[in-house]
C-alpha cells in the first residue's frame, strides 16, 4: 500500500506539473517521470510486460519524439503578456470554464467510484503475468486486430512523412508547371 501511494502521488504530482509548466520541455520531462510511476503501478498490478513496454515504448519512443519536436521547433513560451501573471481562475472565461469542468469531472468520477462500495480487499484469483500467455492470446484471439495495427502504423508513418515534408508539390514530379 505504501508503494501504491508513493507511485500514485508521483504520477498525480508529475501530471499536475505537466499541465502547469510554461516551458514544454519541462512538461515532456515531467511526463516521463509520470510514466515511470505508472510503470511501477503496473508492476504492482502484476503486469510486468505492460510495465516494460510502458518504459520502452512510451518513455523511450513517444516521449523522445515529443522532445525532439519541442527542441526542433525551439518553441516560444506560450503565454502572452497580459495574462502572464494571472492565476488560472482569473483568466478569460474559457480557461476558468476548463478548470471548473475538470474539477467537476474528477469529483464526479471519484464519487461514482466510491459510493457503490465495490471491491474491498485484494484482487481475487491469480494474475496473468507471463509474457507467454499474453503472446498466445495476442496472436490467436487478437490476431486480426494485431494485423490491422500494422496497417495503422504504416498509414501513420506515410502520413507523418507527407505532412512534415516541406513543399510536397514543388519538388515532386507530379507538380503542375509553374509560370
Amino acid at each position: 500500500m505504501t508503494l501504491f501511494y508513493l507511485f500514485a502521488a508521483v504520477a498525480v504530482l508529475a501530471s499536475l506539473l505537466v499541465i502547469s509548466q510554461r516551458n514544454p520541455i519541462y512538461s515532456v520531462l515531467l511526463l516521463i517521470a509520470s510514466f515511470g510511476a505508472l510503470s511501477g503501478l503496473y508492476v504492482l498490478l502484476e503486469a510486468p510486460f505492460v510495465a516494460v513496454i510502458q518504459i520502452i515504448v512510451y518513455a523511450g519512443a513517444i516521449m523522445v519524439l515529443f522532445l525532439f519536436v519541442v527542441m526542433l521547433l525551439n518553441a516560444p513560451h506560450e503565454e502572452t503578456e497580459q495574462d502572464e501573471r494571472l492565476h488560472a481562475f482569473r483568466r478569460p472565461a474559457p480557461f476558468r470554464f476548463g478548470v471548473v469542468l475538470a474539477v467537476a469531472l474528477a469529483i464526479e468520477l471519484t464519487w461514482a467510484l466510491t459510493r457503490g462500495g465495490g471491491e474491498t480487499g485484494a484482487f481475487p484469483g491469480a494474475a496473468v503475468s507471463s509474457v507467454r500467455a499474453i503472446g498466445r492470446t495476442l496472436f490467436t484471439e487478437y490476431s486480426f486486430p494485431f494485423e490491422v495495427t500494422s496497417i495503422l502504423i504504416l498509414v501513420a508513418m506515410v502520413g507523418a512523412v507527407v505532412l512534415a515534408k516541406r513543399d510536397v508539390g514543388r519538388s515532386g514530379a507530379s507538380a503542375p508547371p509553374r509560370g
Partner: protein, 118 residues
C-alpha cells in the same frame, strides 16, 4: 523468526486493508484523466495539449490493466498494447501536423489557427 513463521494465516486475514483495491486504481485513473482533460481545456500550446492527451490515454490504460487484473485475464494488457500503438501513431501524425502549423504561422497557440473558423 518469530512464532508466526509456521502457523499459516488464512488469506483473508493476510490481505486486510493495506492492499490497494480495484477502487483505488480506478480512483487514481479518474484523477489522472481529469488532470489530462484539464490540460486539454486550459492550455494554449499545441504540444502541451498533445501531452495532456497522452496523460488521458495512460489513465485509461491504468484502468484497463486494473480491470484485467481483477478479472484474471490477459485481455486488459492486450488492449493496453493496442492503445499504445494507437498513441504512437497519434503522436507521429499529431507532431507532423504541429510542425506544419508552426511552419505556416510561427506559433503554437491554437488561437492563431483560425482559417477554418467562420
Amino acid at each position: 523468526m518469530w512464532a508466526g513463521a509456521e502457523h499459516p494465516l488464512p488469506p483473508e486475514d493476510k490481505v486486510g486493508d493495506d492492499v490497494p483495491t480495484l477502487n483505488d486504481y480506478l480512483i487514481l485513473s479518474a484523477i489522472l484523466f481529469a488532470i489530462g482533460s484539464a490540460g486539454v481545456l486550459i492550455r494554449r500550446n499545441i504540444i502541451t495539449i498533445l501531452l495532456s492527451v497522452e496523460i488521458m490515454l495512460n489513465a485509461v490504460n491504468l484502468s484497463f490493466v486494473a480491470f484485467g487484473r481483477a478479472l484474471g485475464t490477459a485481455d486488459g494488457q492486450i488492449i493496453v498494447f493496442f492503445v499504445m500503438t494507437v498513441a504512437a501513431a497519434e503522436a507521429a501524425v499529431g507532431l507532423a501536423i504541429v510542425i506544419g502549423l508552426f511552419r505556416h504561422r510561427e506559433s503554437l497557440n491554437p488561437a492563431t489557427f483560425t482559417s477554418l473558423k467562420w
